[in-house]
């Protein structure tokens, strides 16, 4: 063991340095969030705050309700992910277990949509949301994101791996399609589903362009929208930079915490399922 540690020492040091460089913008964010305005603008650079300014967080919260924004983001992301998985499971089941007219066309359309940029749908989707009276509401964001072409695609692949003998046996025992889906296929694909849940959640929490078009009033802001608003309104005042960094830390914290707890799932799931960024 000792010899092994010594032998891999040079490489370990290189990897350590690379990791620090990669993570440094995030460390810098945290350090800046704890500095005073004078320290943040000091030349030459000060690396560490003399006294950590924890008040920066409280002061940022006084200027904008980041707690509410983060809650809005987590809440909408959870509901969206729920519907994405539900709808994807239903369609993936239909695509793998049923034969019906237009099945091939449906699958090809889904495949085509997977490749195309979502932005191409934004103008008509915006009009549809406004016609539904859902502009400036979280419901508008939830409904328009409730289907994920990508989730359908991945779940279909997972469902195809399940041995047909197993499903035939269940059917001859009189199990309904609903029971087969929820009691056999979904439990057997649970690691795929869990990965889809995690990645979709992160994507929805990080989503900016589409939500920024839908929500207009502050009580409906998602964290990305609220944070960028805070940045554009406060960024012109030099003394506010520590507060902006504090807001950044609050924004990133929930995801980093989630990643810290579920790191293995994220990393294994992504390379196993070929998940798109």
């Amino acid at each position: 063991m000792k010899q092994f540690v010594l032998k891999s020492m040079p490489r370990t040091i290189i990897v350590m340095l690379l990791s620090v460089v990669m993570i440094f913008p995030l460390i810098w964010m945290l350090l800046s969030a704890l500095k005073t305005a004078d320290e943040i603008f000091a030349i030459p650079l000060t690396w560490l705050p003399a006294i950590p300014q924890w008040d920066n967080f409280a002061n940022a919260l006084k200027l904008a309700p980041f707690g509410l924004y983060i809650w809005n983001s987590i809440f909408t992301a959870i509901i969206i992910v729920f519907f994405q998985v539900l709808f994807a499971a239903m369609l993936a089941y239909a695509l793998t277990q049923f034969t019906f007219k237009g099945k091939k066309l449906l699958f090809q359309s889904i495949l085509l949509t997977y490749m195309l940029p979502a932005a191409a749908t934004y103008v008509p989707s915006y009009v549809i949301i406004s016609k539904m009276g859902l502009l400036d509401s979280l419901a508008g964001i939830i409904i328009s994101n409730s289907i994920s072409v990508f989730a359908i695609f991945i779940l279909r692949q997972a469902f195809m791996q399940i041995p047909t003998e197993l499903l035939d046996a269940a059917r001859s025992d009189g199990a309904s399609d609903f029971v087969i889906l929820t009691k056999i296929m979904m439990p057997m694909s649970k690691s795929t589903i869990f990965t889809v849940v995690l990645i979709s959640f992160v994507q929805m929490y990080n989503n900016y362009l589409w939500p920024s078009l839908i929500v207009k009033s502050e009580e409906n802001f998602l964290i990305t929208v609220g944070l960028n608003r805070f940045f554009t309104t406060q960024g012109t005042f030099a003394e506010q930079w520590p507060l902006i960094m504090a807001a950044n830390v609050m924004t990133v914290a929930p995801l980093l915490l989630l990643f810290l707890i579920l790191q293995k799932w994220f990393m294994k799931g992504i390379s196993d399922n070929g998940l798109k960024g």
């Binding site: 370990t12 409730s146 289907i147 990080n206």
Partner: protein, 287 residues
């Protein structure tokens, strides 16, 4: 009969949002590109291909097209190369391996909006971290985000930084599937590290490379958040990509006809790219 009802439910329910927010908007978008609709008034008239003529002859579009290609090229290749480099270093057994992989992957998890704000602070010309370091090394200190020469590079660096760990994960998986015997045969034949990489590793991971290039390229066409936060397409349109041009035409100028024309062109560009990569892959990807 009951079977048909079940099928109708399983297909029909998910089909409602799929049609409403994907299939129908895709078609409507192409239709809108033949009108002069301005979003506010209920009236519009058909102008057929005028929007396309207008767009294709405008210098804004030419600049945005070039910016998109430039951004795509300089983010995709370095992201994939850096991903492979990181994977090659991290893959061998070492103390704290899982921890380091996690650190290298972390940027991918964070919201682009938040990290773009951090980076715009790092890029600050006089007191920003980046120029302080460059000054320490006696290198030129550009006005990153306000100089048309450098603004796109600033956006590119952030994008590579955020995605390299993601590419690394795929390469780690691909590398772990190469059988050790192949390297042992290479060793017997006296292959050095470069030969091993060139003749064993690279050919065997070429499907992963293709996959990463396709996904990163499609992803690069859709880049928006970092541009919106750091430069808003400026200075002088130097970071305005096709997608950003589309956003400005649609949601700042409400010129829906030209905006949807740009959207159609973005779709065509994506399709063309997918087609080219598929064609190229037949020549050099070894399955």
């Amino acid at each position: 009969m009951k079977k048909r009802l079940t099928i109708a439910l399983f297909v029909g329910i998910p089909l409602i949002p799929l049609l409403t927010f994907w299939f129908i908007p895709m078609i409507v978008s192409v239709w809108l590109s033949s009108t002069d609709w301005d979003y506010i008034s209920p009236d519009f008239s058909y102008v057929m291909l005028d929007n396309y003529k207008q767009v294709l002859t405008s210098s804004d579009f030419h600049q945005a097209l070039w910016n998109t290609v430039f951004f795509g090229f300089w983010t995709v290749l370095p992201t994939v190369a850096l991903g492979l480099g990181l994977a090659l270093i991290v893959r061998k057994q070492m103390v704290g391996q899982t921890f380091f992989k996690g650190l290298l992957f972390t940027p991918w998890i964070t919201p682009m909006v938040a990290v773009s704000i951090v980076w715009s602070w790092i890029y600050e010309p006089t007191i920003g971290l980046f120029n302080q370091i460059l000054g320490f090394l006696h290198l030129p200190q550009p006005q990153w985000l306000t100089d048309p020469e450098y603004a796109m590079w600033a956006i590119i660096i952030v994008t590579i930084w955020k995605n390299a760990g993601w590419a690394m994960l795929f390469y780690l998986d691909a590398l772990s599937k190469i059988p050790d015997e192949l390297y042992q045969v290479g060793d017997l034949e006296g292959a050095n590290a470069w030969h091993r990489l060139r003749h064993i590793t690279l050919p065997l991971i070429s499907p992963t490379t293709l996959f990463l290039v396709v996904l990163s390229a499609i992803d690069s066409i859709q880049a928006y958040d970092q541009i919106q936060v750091m430069t808003q397409g400026g200075p002088a349109g130097s970071t305005r990509t096709l997608l950003y041009l589309y956003y400005q035409l649609a949601f700042e100028q409400f010129n829906m006809g030209e905006a949807t024309a740009v959207a159609t062109l973005i779709v065509l560009l994506t399709a063309l790219l997918a087609f080219i990569l598929f064609f190229v892959s037949k020549r050099w990807v070894h399955y």
